[in-house]
Amino acid sequence: MGQPHDPRGNLVRPYAVTRGRTEPRREIPIEAVLVASQAAVQEARFAGHDKYRIAVLCEPKAQSLAEIAAYSRLPLGAARVLVADMVADGMLALHSAAPKEGFTERMDLLERVLSGLRKL
């Protein structure tokens, strides 16, 4: 994956790619990651340039909404609308952000993150 260009300066008509829609079909946290299968990439060929690029980006490795927006040079809100559409249409699998509830679940995650940091 190449280094993206500086996205600043590419924000004219930020919601043109979503045909003016600014409300996503579902809320997606900025750090939630998305994955596309090879079959989904093929399907996305017919879904328009932006969605196809997003699918291609998410096929080799999981990418967060923030990464999708940055690499696609889309504002966060516009990327969220497209990604939410793609999740609804089965082109992207949405994985989970950190659990917000439950002592055990939250503590398990913190322990895994801590051990991951120590191994850096």
Partner: protein, 206 residues
């Protein structure tokens, strides 16, 4: 979890969890440097565009007419395991963008407020913000070369940082130093969670 769509998209073997840590602080304090010191990718920039018709603007008078405002956030990534990714998000520096901070801290593990000892008063606003939020945070003093050095306790007193908030020294350019900052954030989040549990917040099942 949407099983239908994940089956269709599906060669991925297991659920991937992503977590985030927020790096806050005034403009130019070294947030992006800190993120870059440990990130496996060059820090990326994502932008949010706000219009005067948008929701969540803290003070609409600052966005007059139909102007749009672009808020940039830098972030990095650490893939910890096949099924665990940690993201580090730097907050926008200017205080007028605090509506964006609310989105960034939602669901975060914790935060580090980076303080430049040469411009200590820049830290008041970010510290005020976290004092009023339910998110564990620590303060990290970024010791630039030639910057005035203070004893941590002098800084704590000058910034009126409460005794429960950990305060660490760091060099945002050094990987090991930044790693230690992040370890401190997570350890503090664990202590906070245990303390909440002791005070009778929602109990674990089983």
């Amino acid at each position: 979890m949407d099983f239908a769509s994940s089956e269709r998209a599906g060669a991925q073997p297991k659920e991937i969890t992503s977590a985030k840590i927020v790096v806050a602080g005034g403009f130019g304090v070294g947030k992006t440097t800190l993120v870059g010191a440990v990130s496996e990718i060059e820090p990326l920039t994502t932008e949010a565009v706000m219009t005067s018709a948008g929701q969540g603007i803290d003070d609409a008078s600052k966005v007059p007419g139909k102007e749009t405002t672009t808020v940039a956030m830098d972030f990095g990534r650490i893939t910890m395991a096949e099924d665990l990714i940690l993201y580090l998000f730097g907050t926008p520096g200017q205080t007028r963008f605090w509506f964006m901070w609310d989105e960034l801290i939602r669901g975060a593990v914790g935060a580090a407020v980076l303080v430049d000892t040469r411009r200590i008063s820049d830290a008041f606003a970010p510290l005020d913000y976290f004092e009023n939020r339910h998110l564990p945070y620590i303060v990290a003093l970024n010791c630039f070369d030639g910057a005035p050095r203070y004893e941590p306790e002098e800084v704590r007193e000058a910034l009126a940082i409460s005794p429960q908030v950990p305060l660490v020294m760091c060099d945002a350019r050094q990987r090991d130093s930044v790693k230690q900052v992040l370890v401190s954030v997570v350890e503090h989040a664990m202590r906070t969670l245990v303390a909440e549990q002791g005070r009778g917040y929602p109990a674990p099942v089983g």
